[in-house]
């Protein structure tokens, strides 16, 4: 590609054709402030409506200021990014934005992490000279997400995320001028729309307009209730990101500190969702093998490829978009729900507790899990298997609220029996991890041979759609992987058309997998953070003594003492689910 030479603040820089001024400036360490713009490198997605005008710069020979995010570099261009004129323009733009924004920073969930607040502070805005009417919208509370559109600045990041990346398209800019806002069709509540609760809109919203339902107060209420025993499970992805909330480098593993913090907060037992991930592999892996063996025996009706089902955002997506294919995904519940089902039966029995007196809290990187835990089929007589699901961010809030000095905490171990896990359970956090874990177990069960090399590098990475063939002792097992719902849709359409050649497909709703979940600390567009989290997860796996789910001694014991066979009758009752047609009906 041909190169272009230009100067930015009198420094010469050479960039590839098609580079924006913002990106060119970055190359020489000049940071042009942006607000609506967001570039997600690994997702291959860039939101640049050029609407907010915070990024304006001065161009030699051009009368008007130009938005740096949208303006492409040309040969000989002379850019000035911090002249008085530029700074005054940015200040005016910011003052205008703030004139229609509620001054609620003190109580806003986004405070301290809000791009609007940060930019306003950088510009040193101390008063808002423009006064006038402010927009008022009704608050929309769904089981996972709150929409508080009074705080919307119309950057449309959420719309791009929902439409372009996730191909759900349940959000759109509506109305015009002062009344414009992003909303579902007919301004219906999110709950009634086709929203999957993947939460990726929340993950990119620069302000407090989109946020998660906060369950921390309910958790605290349970903790102080003397009649309740409160246990907690932590998802694999949480340990690789929680440290960021306490100023640690992205990719710092804080497993031991996290356990310690949870014990200090007062949970009676601290368990690991990784244990349930191992359990998921036993069930999902067995299901894969069962289908595969039938297929190899010539059964034409068997559904292949099998699709993983541990991501509730993805489950919601296929229930609304592919209701005619509900028999294709695995019936295995997600690890969160497997944990809940075992906790409220096996564990409650062991602890001699009634299920009503046992409160199961989950710490998840995920917003869809909030909704999942409330699904009717995961309740017994109105008592849910998982009572309360909180995010990584909410946990950090609780740790801060408990005045714990997180970084000084000593490492502690999970409790048993549901705290023991293998490396296979850990990698569930990463795109490609679930299928790698499944392969480690399915290989040994299928071939009756020991798998010497457990690292399947061919299944790892950040490409949106990946494929690999794994040699199952002479049988080529074809595997597909998709993360992000748009990529999932591509693979799904192939399955629907009957052109898919895969035997198994792993799907995660969030770009990067759960490490990029919407409940994780905000990445503010720096997608390197996701890579560092993913690397941390693989490090945790490599450091584990046991790295195959079926070798987890507590899993073996659980089947011996309680469950019987994988995919057996009891396992089926407790660990599997069924799906519903949720396609909105149009005449």
């Amino acid at each position: 590609m041909s190169q272009i030479k230009l100067t930015i603040d009198n420094k010469t820089v050479q960039v590839a054709q098609g580079t924006s001024i913002v990106d060119a400036a970055k190359q020489i360490g000049v940071n042009i402030p942006t607000l609506c713009h967001m570039k997600l490198e690994h997702v291959g997605y860039e939101n640049k409506p050029g609407g907010c005008r915070i990024c304006v710069v001065e161009l030699e020979g051009r009368k008007n200021l130009a938005p740096a995010c949208k303006t492409i570099c040309t040969e000989g261009m002379q850019v000035s990014t911090h002249t008085l004129r530029v700074i005054n323009a940015r200040r005016t733009v910011m003052e205008l934005i703030l004139s229609d924004h509620p001054a609620e920073c003190l109580t806003c969930v986004k405070s301290g992490k809000c791009d609007l607040q940060t930019r306003a502070q950088e510009l040193g805005i101390r008063e808002i000279p423009y006064q006038g009417e402010q927009s008022k919208y009704k608050e929309d509370k769904s089981p996972a997400i709150i929409r508080d559109m009074d705080k919307c600045i119309m950057c449309r990041r959420c719309e791009m995320m929902c439409k372009q990346v996730q191909t759900v398209g349940c959000l759109s800019a509506i109305n015009r001028g002062f009344e414009s806002v992003v909303a579902p069709a007919f301004e219906m509540d999110l709950e009634k729309s086709t929203c999957t609760y993947c939460g990726q809109c929340v993950a990119v919203c620069p302000t407090g307009a989109l946020s998660e339902i906060d369950n921390t107060r309910k958790v605290i209420a349970a903790l102080v209730n003397p009649n309740k025993t409160v246990i907690v499970q932590t998802a694999p992805a949480v340990r690789a990101a929680l440290g960021e909330e306490f100023g640690l480098e992205p990719g710092t593993l804080v497993t031991g500190k996290m356990v310690s913090a949870l014990k200090k907060i007062g949970f009676d037992k601290v368990f690991d969702t990784d244990f349930a991930a191992d359990l998921t592999i036993m069930e999902e892996g067995t299901e894969l093998l069962n289908r595969l063996q039938k297929h190899l025996a010539g059964d034409k009706n068997v559904k292949l490829p099998i699709l993983t089902s541990c991501c509730p955002g993805w489950v919601n997506f296929f229930e609304t978009n592919y209701p005619d294919m509900l028999d294709v995904p695995s019936t295995a519940k997600s690890p969160q729900q497997m944990f809940g089902a075992i906790a409220k039966t096996y564990l409650a029995e062991q602890m001699k507790l009634k299920r009503e007196d046992l409160v199961v809290v989950s710490v998840m990187p995920c917003l869809a899990k909030k909704y999942e835990s409330q699904r009717k089929e995961f309740q017994v007589n109105g008592n849910p298997d998982v009572d309360l699901s909180i995010t990584t961010r909410e946990l950090s809030q609780m740790i801060k609220g408990a005045n714990l000095n997180f970084n000084e905490l000593h490492n502690e171990e999970f409790d048993n029996p549901m705290g023991e896990s293998t490396g296979a359970g850990v990698i569930f956090a990463n795109t490609g991890g679930v299928i790698e874990a499944a392969v480690r177990t399915a290989y040994e069960l299928h071939t009756q041979k020991t798998l010497e090399k457990v690292d399947f590098h061919e299944l790892r990475g950040f490409e949106g759609i990946r494929s690999a063939t794994v040699d199952f002792d002479g049988f080529p097992l074809k595997i597909g992987i998709a993360h992000g719902l748009g990529h999932a849709r591509q693979l799904l359409n192939e399955v629907k058309a009957g052109t898919s050649t895969f035997h198994a497909i792993e799907i995660m709703a969030c770009p990067g997998g759960c490490i990029g979940g919407a409940g994780q600390p905000y990445h503010h567009g720096d997608t390197n953070i996701l890579k560092q989290r993913a690397a941390a997860i693989y490090r945790e796996d490599a450091g584990k003594a046991i790295r195959k789910s079926h070798q987890n001694p507590f899993i073996i014991k659980l089947y011996d003492e309680f469950l019987g066979e994988p995919c057996g009758e009891k396992a089926h009752k407790l660990l599997h689910t069924h799906y519903f047609d949720k396609k909105p009906k149009v005449k």
Partner: protein, 158 residues
């Protein structure tokens, strides 16, 4: 939102409108024009069918419908009132006139009174700038309308 039932024959006609434009996504605006001609307005049910025919998200269709003031989501009143908001009318107080209509009839732009008699909308220049501000009720044109005259105009149709 109250659900309405579209007659089957109308649904067929609507699908024909979409088909006339090859169910093309980028013809959405033309298709919406055609649909509004057919129904007089664009209820949710119509937008849903169009979204389905064009394989676009209904949120997107709704976004377009609410962006253009020409499109309306409620049936026009028996006497549709339009206030010109072109530059000439605007500077001569059209907004105040429009506000007065909204106030007296207690409706927003694009809405219809509960008795179905009046609907209020704004439109861009009607080309009678000499008469600014201009109001039309049905096909009748009123020029140089003042706030005081608004009630009289409404009374003519009561």
């Amino acid at each position: 939102m109250t659900k309405i039932k579209l007659a089957d024959s109308k649904v067929t006609e609507l699908k024909q409108v979409c088909a006339k434009f090859d169910n093309q996504k980028n013809e959405l605006i033309n298709i919406l024009h055609g649909a509004q001609e057919l129904f007089g307005y664009l209820p949710a049910e119509v937008q849903e069918i169009i979204a389905q025919q064009l394989s676009v998200d209904v949120a997107h269709v709704y976004g377009v419908v609410t962006f253009y003031s020409f499109f309306s989501m409620s049936p026009k009143g028996e006497h549709p009132i339009s206030v010109c908001m072109g530059t000439a009318c605007y500077v001569r107080g059209a907004e105040k006139v429009l506000d007065e209509f909204k106030r007296i009839l207690n409706v927003k732009i694009g809405e219809t009174t509960p008795d179905g008699k009046f609907s209020v909308s704004s439109l861009r220049c009607v080309g009678a700038c000499g008469l600014a501000p201009v109001v039309t009720v049905g096909s009748k044109v009123y020029g140089r309308v003042t706030i005081e005259e608004v009630q009289q105009i409404i009374n003519e149709y009561q």
